[in-house]
Symmetry: D3
Subunit: 276 residues, 6 copies
């Protein structure tokens, strides 16, 4: 991830916290000359993501702060692990602390949740992907966190892959019409995915296969049959109602990808802290 992709987000988050008056407490109570050395630690076990973003947060407040990372994004750590040393003016550390932790805790929460599912399906060869159910404004950061957790990214938005859903099909007058309309207008670098709810729909689609088929809300039985029907002619993606408990059995059906909204929209924060 390049800094240009998140620096404005970091500045926005800092301005959101500084408001119009700045850090009243630190400016008044902490001498300008005080320096501090703090330990950025994981309070819980988990998978880390967002260390670069947290470091950029400190640097945006004060370029003289030195963040010395001890682990890299993607590291799986135990509770108490030192993630980075943060040294610099005490005021700067105190001012940036909460915003840096908010990024790191949020992204690591997503990476940890992703990692949990990826580990659960280990050996099945299935890829774990998030969806477009991301927090507004943070999609690039959350997709990065998914990758750090061992997941693979689904499309980034409405324009980098086609996803034909039931409402598109209804509006177009049928799946063939929808696919034909898309093919007529789309460039050669864009993949087409079609959502099907039933094996009957799948049978129709497979006669003129697209790149990816989304098997929506199917049972493991149906998924297994679907994989047989597709027979390698399309990438198969299972989605809908997948839980941590069901993930492995769904992965075992032979689908290529499982996509899960809650690894981005409902992952709990990972507890990280800055100890002075």
């Amino acid at each position: 991830m390049h800094e240009l992709q998140y620096l404005e987000t970091v500045r926005g988050a800092l301005r959101e916290d500084l408001g119009r008056g700045g850090d009243l407490t630190s400016e008044l109570a902490v001498p300008a000359t005080a320096v501090a050395s703090a330990r950025l630690v994981a309070r819980q076990a988990g998978c880390i993501a967002g260390l670069d973003v947290a470091a950029a947060t400190f640097r945006e407040i004060d370029p003289s702060v030195v963040v010395d990372a001890q682990v890299s994004d993607g590291a799986v750590v135990s509770a108490g692990t030192l993630l980075a040393m943060v040294d610099g003016p005490a005021r700067s550390l105190l001012t940036a602390e909460r915003t840096a932790l908010n990024f790191l805790g949020h992204m690591s929460g997503i990476a940890t949740t992703t990692r949990f599912i990826v580990d659960a399906v280990q050996g099945t060869g299935v890829a774990v992907a998030e969806t477009r159910k991301t927090t507004p404004g943070l999609r690039a950061l959350e997709k990065h966190a998914v990758r750090m957790g061992g997941g693979a990214n689904h499309r980034f938005g409405l324009d980098d892959a086609v996803m034909i859903k039931d409402n598109h099909i209804a509006a177009a007058g049928g799946v063939r019409q929808a696919v034909a309309a898309v093919r007529a207008g789309i460039g050669h670098t864009v993949k087409i995915e079609v959502e099907v709810d039933s094996l009957a729909q799948l049978e129709e689609l497979v006669e003129d296969p697209v790149d990816i088929v989304l098997l929506d809300n199917m049972t493991t039985d149906e998924l297994r049959q679907a994989v047989g029907i597709v027979a390698g002619r399309m990438v198969t993606e299972a989605s809908g109602g997948i839980t941590p408990e069901s993930a492995r059995s769904i992965a075992a059906t032979g689908v290529d990808v499982i996509s899960i909204g809650w690894i981005t929209h409902s992952a709990p924060n990972l507890d990280v802290a800055l100890d002075f």
Copy 2:
């Protein structure tokens, strides 16, 4: 909440989804003239927040879309409840759908979690507040969601109230020095809160009370004693490690406020959907 406080956030979220190419699928598969009537529904029981934001999302994509809300922010609804009718060009509804739902699901998740705690402490007179542990860029929206869930807002950032923590105290050379330094520089409209970890610290503080005392990570026994020591001279706020299970017993200690980070940073999304 005024639209000026979130409209740029809504536009940013839509541009994040549209990317450079726009909604490829809807533009190609759905006729420009197709219209649709969709039902915005809660798939889970919960407390709703963000209806205005979701409506603004549809309107930003297409001012001709009509969103007819059936409930208001703050409503506690059962699964299946119709939240709003959304009528307009099918393309516009499909293009805005995911972004609108991302706002509504995220904010309603926070409202629902808040409501759960507020209900749990009902009758104790305690106020339930969030912290500054919010998602970067979304603080105003998340604080609104907390209010809709029956909570009360803590400070909005570093500049609208003073919060003197252990590191400030250490850097200032003691709690009295820290409080004195703050008082010398602060305007008359700003409240001062001091964090204490022990009853000994509290005894020192109460001799020269500030507006609010944060009782950090205390047992219910300690909290009860603390309330006695303060004897109404400061607002008392309990924080640290509060769980849904412990909330009521903490509230019962007589503190005025309990503040909880996870009602913003770890609240799961509320499942909302747009049914065509």
Copy 3:
């Protein structure tokens, strides 16, 4: 193309022209009450793109201006064709005129150049695509113009498709290593394209085919052989040094796509004017 994708660009262009002082001439010389009816016409024959953008330019200056389009984007028109009637306060028309024409002339120039090539290769089944050699800040508008000229879009940027070029291959230590590294990290919705300069490279690539092969700077003889070697296992794209004269013979080699930088970066403006 949704207005959210270009409205900020339109506003920026208007502010660039208004500067700090605004339209001195019109404000001083033209009475505020004067109204005008103007004809937006093509002075040259060509293919039109950007009518919505031009209309938005007038509306941004004055919502009371009415732009009544007589043709749609994609229309092939002869010199003198009326494109739209523009009615409203004379000052508003004069202030917006140059910016609106700059958008329309630039985009129609690209559409016209694209159309010329598309017509030249008619019947060969080849798709004509632009590249990333677009004018900074205008990529979405220019790609739209290519579509309006009958072309098909190549990738929108560095993140919606993989393009492995010679320097990537060199840095990765070989084409197999590069492809393997990409496959290990990429999501299932992203296509992979590899650039080859020689038939030998192509022979190596085709053993483990990717989605698209870019045949760079090959002769028509080489292209014909390349198409034979690929034998439908990858989409074939010819690029490099294609001229209006050579386009048809290259298309006749059987490649699927020809991509041409100059249809965006060197297309001359189409002469459009606003006649009062």
Copy 4:
């Protein structure tokens, strides 16, 4: 040109190319530690403009990239000339390459076209100027390119000089009324230019001369007469339908300035490349 005038444009162009996912190919295929040394070269003979902008593009991606310019903006170079050495991390060079070249090729194309006309009219003493027919968002950069090609800039927008055209005259009720209205409201630092289409109009204007007269679409005969009529009382500017072929004969009529829209809106790109 000061960096503050184009840095946001450079960042915007990079973000346009990076999208939400960044440079997928380079991040996956190129080791983070790989360094490269590349030669920025002109593939065609031409006049260079935009080297500072291209260098800033590399630096925005990575401050550690060193761009060592071998020529300066305004240099007239032959095909194959080394323009700059670019050294740094291979990933950074690959990520910034296309955007940097897009700026440099576009600006050098304009400088080259300008230079061609300036050379064609050498010795006549005429100044070659562009118009407001510039690419939306890039006016400052394009005007800089014109200067580098030996041209002189016309006004930057609607607010730094007055230009009274036929529609203003019609709306004001005559040229005298229009000029009078402008003079009554304009500050003493602003020049006034009036467009005339005929010698009769010029005769009327010259009785009460303004600063500059635009002689629109006149023949060389008419221009020669116009110069005689003006007799030094106004700066004379010829415009309209000037071609590379006609430029010298128009310049020879004795006008002070010729202004040409196509040197900005239709100049073909100069072929520049980055060779690793």
Copy 5:
């Protein structure tokens, strides 16, 4: 002045006041359904500027607010004059009130101060201009206010006229060198002004006159001599230490323009209020 020139400034000012939490008082204390009719009045006599900006401020908060202006910008009013009726939801009026008044009071203060000087020099034919000593971010609005007060604008910034000062002359090696360097590079639409401190410098300059001469900090005697020396060959502008008292005697020296920094940077606010 076109709305595009100030709308972002208005929105920025409103966001500055709303902060992250919005108008707490009005949202809590005022029923959403309450409507109000308020009178925008001048508490002091003065010259009004900024009514459109104030109206836009109310509309940005709530498009349903109706502002019915009773006077126009430039009007000279007595204390107590009704400037506009403002009708709409009470909350919206209360939320926008202070920001609208801040714009109107600031701009009217400048217009009133300008008007005072313009009236003082009435009959001398001198133009009263402001300088670049404007409030950061508000130059366009302040220059508009000067025009509304009967003044004429000096240049808008560093790029719409040349101003050669003593430091430029020193760096260039003399006034002739500085003027020659500027003439060689400047377009035909830009005026050149040179600052002189003494009649000796003026004598040198007038041999090769530029467009405007700035007579800096001269006595009325010197100014009178300077006007004689120039003898109409340049526009003459007096500046430096002009007070309300001295303005008329300076104007009487025959200079064309007097420019005064304090009409923008030190004009006291005009007292305006919104009476419910």
Copy 6:
């Protein structure tokens, strides 16, 4: 004040001055290699504020400029005092000069005016505060200047303290209703202030006191009585029509705070200059 709170304002002000063409004069008349050493001086006696902002302005134009401050914000200086040495490329100093001085002169003007009042009330123990009558876009900078002049800040906007005025009371149906409605919805970190116009209103309010009472437009007699009525149960703030002459007698009434709009909206600029 943290740089993140004003850097965008500085950049905006510089772009406002540079326009589209940049500093024409310095770029043409001053050799790129010329260096200069300049003295930033106070031409008038006063209290300084904005040195960091002025220094940032020079650095934004050219990071190689060195600003060596000789005094700090808050310093009270006599006419002629050297405030800072500014060394660097001559062009950069000339380009940034006016914008840097505009910030410094504006902010120092406010600090000086504040200081004057603070000195006038010395010994009374009263705090001097500004209001929300600030220049649009500059509130944070102006509030900083007030602090530097020895004043104390009032609330920063509509969201960091509640201020119940007559119109709120009228709309709510009485002061008790208004206060009750606010208390029901406000967090525990927000203070409540109520404006009263008469001692009768004060008597009503004091029965159920809020945090602060604004005593609006009262005579010194009334203020003295009001202080007696309040008897320490609320902070007392006098406002309305306070002049430099009346400030001390008002302060002597025993109120805690006096708040004055004109120290921000009508403070004259402090004359500061850059001498080369």
